[in-house]
Symmetry: C2
Subunit: 238 residues, 2 copies
């Protein structure tokens, strides 16, 4: 039984069920575990002694919230994260997560392309938490100019759930998305990343068995008490 790839609709439905009255999860809980998994994935592949300076790129949605949580954990792990978040989401939780980062002395870039350009020159790796599975093109400003800058930096990129600019189902057909080296899928991989050929992890170890069976996710076995599992081989059988 192979891993199931999720459509945007199915991914949304699973999130909705987890956070329904019956599922009983709060967004705070799920975002904390998701963001922790993202930070651990980056730390697993890029050691803090060689890749200390992490540019954490956050969009205005839940994906950006995962990024803020990840930035905080990366700081606890000994990295020096910097946040690029040109549009702070309006939900109360983003404000709180951002305050938590500020309390950890994690800087946030000032607006404008110049500060992004300068910071890219003094970064070692990028965590891409800009667009999530509810993204629909075209890419709007300021991200339409930011994405090419991230690509052209030549820095290694770790993308969260779906590489920014990719359609959650059609993938990078339009060719305007990032090309990450590492991907951390959350809950289950999305349709659009079938053709992803980098190192692939899964996080979001919080799906009850009943939900897994209902949606036939066929999730892999996580090792021990880990919050992430390497699914590179499982997803790239030739």
């Amino acid at each position: 039984m192979s891993l199931r790839y999720l459509s945007a609709r199915l991914a949304q439905q699973i999130d909705d069920e987890l956070m329904s009255a019956a599922g009983a999860f709060s967004l705070d809980q799920l975002m904390e575990l998701a963001g922790l998994a993202c930070a651990q994935t980056l730390a697993k592949v890029y050691s803090s002694d060689k890749y200390n300076r992490v540019l954490v790129c956050c969009g205005p949605g839940n994906q950006g919230g995962d990024g803020l949580v990840a930035a905080r954990h990366l700081s606890m792990f000994g990295y020096k994260p910097t946040i690029y978040m040109p549009k702070l989401g309006s939900k109360d939780i983003y404000q709180r997560l951002h305050t938590q980062c500020k309390n950890m002395s994690i800087p946030t870039l000032s607006e404008g392309e110049e500060s992004l350009r300068t910071t890219l020159k003094s970064s070692d790796v990028i965590l891409d938490a800009i667009f999530g599975f509810s993204f629909k093109g075209p890419i709007r400003p300021p991200f339409d100019s930011a994405l090419p800058m991230l690509s052209e930096s030549g820095l290694p990129i770790v993308s969260v759930d779906i590489p920014s600019g990719w359609d959650v189902e059609a993938g990078n057909e339009a060719g305007v998305g990032l090309t990450p080296d590492v991907l951390v899928s959350l809950t289950a991989p999305k349709e659009g990343v079938r053709m992803f050929r980098g190192q692939h992890f899964l996080g979001g170890r919080f799906v009850p068995r009943t939900l897994e069976e209902k949606f036939q996710l066929n999730l892999p076995v996580y090792p021990g008490y880990e919050q992430i599992v390497d699914i590179t081989e499982a997803t790239q059988k030739l």
Copy 2:
């Protein structure tokens, strides 16, 4: 610089600061990370193949909430937890955490000594999340009879933050507390566990550096991206 042991007042003050408007953490977030650390500590010491059946004992306060989170994660790790929680706390969060456990098909014991006695006979290890740092004796029913039953079971015990029945500052002077094999302190160890001589872990890797310095906690370095660190040696220098 050695680890600081916290008084009840200081432990409360740190929790309050973390969850103040300035600290910006929600109880959901901190409890999720604390409970995950508890589950990981148990999993680190007691492997799921030999110690599969975990009796998770929860009190009516925040400590019990940590226990419910831990039960859920233990289930994800492949353990078969059973919850003993004779008094469910009234806060909304406990109800939600308990629902999450029920959704994972984790059973909760029915009331009465008999079900506890029977279940102890078919358990491999106990997670003690009954009383936390705000506990003040004497031990009230039904815990006054439950604690001796847990002790007499002879099962290995992992205690959360402060072994149940111990005074957070005076320790087990009264001699009515549990004698755990493993302790997982949260945020920083409490005064009362200075004389604890089992395997000692620290969890709660979320204290900002500024807060750590303000309270001179002198926290140890956690390994890599781990959420727990073994502080047995650091706390038991002869």
